[in-house]
């Protein structure tokens, strides 16, 4: 049992020390890391809980079920807080779409998320998807769930009150995924096929019943503690709940409802059968739970009770088969402080001189078309149209812009959510990559008019026992921490996924940030698409930028080279405050984050997402070098538009926050034109012609 519970996936033995450096406090934080999911106060007596988790190894083996059970797991984390799950996001990484295996995994993962999430009636409202050789053998699947509850209804995974009953609710227990989590903490090697653990098959129908049953249950007042059963099943859930409460637990495995013959106590304790919850119930109130389970058609069993002695005791009938101090099992995992050394590649990939590739072979228009047709930048509609992103009728800003915005019925509130992380940048410069993930996620939320309030994060890295990898990890965490402090977005929880490597080839270090923002007044939300012809197009933040780590350099010149754009956290913060002032003042017609692909791509996207008659632009840039002007990337930039009479007020707010702001030109119908003093008109086209590759790229690859 120790080997299982202390494996990285459960015990965080390598990562703990570094994670302790992240800021976790804030006036809105009600529950920080350590619980099943963090909780923040959003006013109106309501609390929001959210968490992101990885399911990387399973999708490489069975993409559909791997992704499906990933959704199931993260939803139960939210359920364990006593919250109603309200939305899902998915952050995905695959190899290139011109290769068969990545295509198959990609299709399977999206279908699996759709198959499970849609059945639960949970809208999948956002995420991100990148395709790069860096993930060819190690696809990543991080899923995030957001839940809402009344402030006073927060529940915890505590086995408090000796004498109280320990109950098991949901699916029966089988031999599924035993040692799944030790597996998740190993490299996939050549021999992986033979050691493949049984991947679980998800049962979204039972999960849906479990959600409704648990929400009714937590309202009855008989629940002392509630805990999901993830990795290491009953073992970890019992040990954790007891450790949190400083109590012990005494269970009898012979009472666990089984679906298979002849399971040993060991198998029962470590089974990772899905769709189960552990519930600590007031002594004598078990019938309440039993009645509820009967109505919802779920298995239920009282498998033991809470004890005062701090011991986790496992019986098989009368015979005691294991006795371990609960705390040792849950928290006692040894803390390592692995060696971290800066790997040599960092200097080569960042050596100066890589960043002046000369003009694009097919001209600037050709380059822009190529970028818009790159699966990393192209519309992700092929993905999110497979997700029911509207169910629950709260999705006010659907997937497709920077952040998704949800309404909260009965309040003026809006909730904005986005995920972000750039593996390439983190590979080139882990510190910057870590900071950038926070900055861009926050910028996405700000673009919708919401104030970023807190993050959850998922850290996807290679084998931490290799000093180079652990250096990447420490640097990325340091960058995330600095950015979270500067932007006042504490970390309320997260998840670490190590050993994402195959035959010694690690994935790009990929920290993914899930950001949550709050809009006090939903009617003040801002869209990413231009609104009306004649409006002024304004760039907040610097023009130009760098080609370091840019999508342009990879997609058009076929090279990945740094250094990537750095993050000036003070400038970033100023930009956010300026945008929020403009949004709350009702000055903005549109706002869109300038990120992958640079300014030209951001402008094009705002045209594609535009309202009727506003799908074009006529712009004059100042940056003399066309490739930098059009495709250079940098942080701290936002592309906004507003009606002419509001320009003055907008510029005034910008200067008050010391944010560079320049009117680039105006919105017009249908045609797209960008001029650069030095080079004249560098891009001229009908918007529809630009839109085609952007809209169809992914579908074409998948046809």
């Amino acid at each position: 049992m120790f080997s299982v519970l202390w494996s990285e996936h459960c015990g965080y033995k390598h990562s703990r020390r570094a994670l302790k450096t992240l800021p976790t406090g804030g006036e809105r934080v009600l529950v920080g890391p350590g619980e099943n999911a963090g909780v923040i106060d959003i006013g109106h007596g309501l609390a929001l809980t959210f968490k992101i988790e990885s399911h990387n190894h399973p999708i490489a083996i069975e993409p559909y079920q791997g992704a499906a059970t990933g959704i199931g797991g993260i939803v139960r984390d939210i359920l364990a807080m006593g919250a109603r799950p309200i939305a899902l996001l998915d952050s995905l990484r695959f190899g290139r779409l011109d290769q068969a295996w990545p295509r198959r995994i990609f299709a399977g993962v999206v279908a699996g998320i759709a198959g499970y999430g849609n059945c639960l009636g949970l809208p999948t409202v956002g995420g991100e998807t990148y395709f790069d050789d860096g993930y060819a053998k190690n696809p990543l699947c991080n899923v995030m769930c957001v839940g809402i509850m009344n402030r006073h209804e927060i529940h915890r995974g505590v086995a408090a009150g000796p004498g109280n009953s320990v109950m098991l609710l949901g699916h029966s227990t089988g031999r599924d995924g035993i040692h799944g989590c030790t597996f998740a903490s190993e490299e996939l090697g050549e021999d992986a096929p033979d050691r493949r653990p049984a991947v679980q098959v998800g049962d979204p129908f039972v999960e849906k019943l479990l959600i409704e049953a648990c929400l009714e249950l937590t309202k009855t007042g008989v629940v002392v503690g509630i805990q999901d059963m993830g990795a290491a099943g009953i073992t970890s859930s019992c040990a954790e709940t007891a450790a949190r409460a400083g109590t012990g637990i005494d269970i009898d495995v012979s009472r666990v409802p089984l679906r298979e013959e002849g399971m040993t106590p060991y198998e029962i304790m470590l089974s990772e059968s899905q769709e189960r919850m552990l519930v600590i119930v007031e002594q004598g109130r078990e019938p309440v739970v039993e009645e509820l389970a009967r109505r919802w058609g779920l298995n239920v069993a009282t498998i033991g009770k809470v004890t005062p002695d701090g011991v986790f005791r496992v019986r098989d009938g009368r015979e005691v088969v294991a006795e371990i101090p609960a705390r040792a099992l849950a928290d006692g995992a040894p803390m390592y402080d692995p060696v971290a050394t800066r790997p040599a590649y960092v200097d080569t990939v960042n050596s100066p001189g890589n960043l002046d590739p000369g003009p694009p072979p097919a001209g600037y228009l050709g380059a822009l078309q190529a970028l818009l047709g790159s699966p990393n930048i192209a519309s992700k509609r092929w993905i999110w149209r497979q997700y029911d992103h509207m169910v629950r009728t709260d999705t006010v800003e659907p997937p497709g812009s920077d952040a998704c915005v949800l309404r909260v019925k009965g309040t003026p509130l809006g909730i904005a959510v986005a995920t972000d992380g750039n593996g390439r940048h983190t590979y080139l410069d882990p510190y910057t990559g870590g900071a950038a993930a926070v900055a861009e996620a926050a910028r996405n939320v700000v673009a919708s008019g919401a104030r970023p309030v807190a993050i959850t994060n998922c850290l996807n890295f290679g084998n931490p026992e290799k000093p180079g990898i652990f250096w990447q990890f420490k640097e990325a965490v340091r960058g995330m921490g600095d950015a979270c402090r500067a932007l006042h977005t504490p970390v309320t929880g997260g998840n670490v996924s190590f050993y994402n490597e195959t035959d010694g080839h690690p994935v790009y270090p990929t920290p993914v940030v899930g950001m949550v923002g709050v809009l006090e007044d939903l009617s003040k939300r801002v869209k990413a698409g231009f609104r009306a012809a004649g409006d002024a197009v304004i760039l907040l933040g610097p023009e130009g930028g760098t080609l370091g780590g840019s999508e342009y350099l990879v997609a058009v010149h076929g090279r990945l080279a740094g250094p990537p754009p750095t993050v000036d956290l003070d400038a970033e913060r100023a930009l956010h405050e300026a945008c929020l002032d403009m949004a709350s003042g009702g000055l903005l017609a549109s706002a869109h984050d300038v990120s992958d692909g640079g300014l030209a791509v951001a402008v094009a996207e705002s045209c594609f997402l535009a309202g009727p008659g506003a799908g074009g632009v006529d712009l004059r840039l100042e940056e003399p070098r066309p490739d930098l002007a059009l495709f250079g990337e940098s942080h701290g930039r936002m592309l906004i538009s507003c009606s002419q009479e509001k320009v003055e007020a907008v510029l005034e707010i910008a200067s008050r926050h010391r944010v560079p702001a320049r009117v680039l030109g105006r919105v017009r119908d249908g045609s797209f034109r960008i001029e650069i003093p030095s080079a004249g008109v560098v891009v001229e086209s009908s918007t529809s012609q630009l839109a085609r590759p952007w809209e169809e790229a992914i579908a074409c690859h998948m046809a």
């Binding site: 083996i61 069975e62 699916h171 089988g174 049984a198 098959v201 049962d203 979204p204």
Partner: protein, 87 residues
Amino acid sequence: MKYVVTIRVMLKRTVLDPQGEAVRKSLAAMGYAGVEAVRVGKHLELVLDAGDRDEAVRLVDEMCHRLLSNPVIEEYSFTLQGGETGR
């Protein structure tokens, strides 16, 4: 030679079969109490053109392994008819 192939793909016994369990419950609720251990899988039928029976068997086995099933959670079996053997 043309062979008529029927393929059966089922979840492994050790893997939960949510559909099967749901079907069993419904049947029970409809009054079919005597029904146990329901499993729901895929049934494929196809026509294959191959040089001879051995090649046909090799090809079908390969397809099952590579595309039609995932050996991690599923098992398959198949039968061939036709070809020179006429069966």
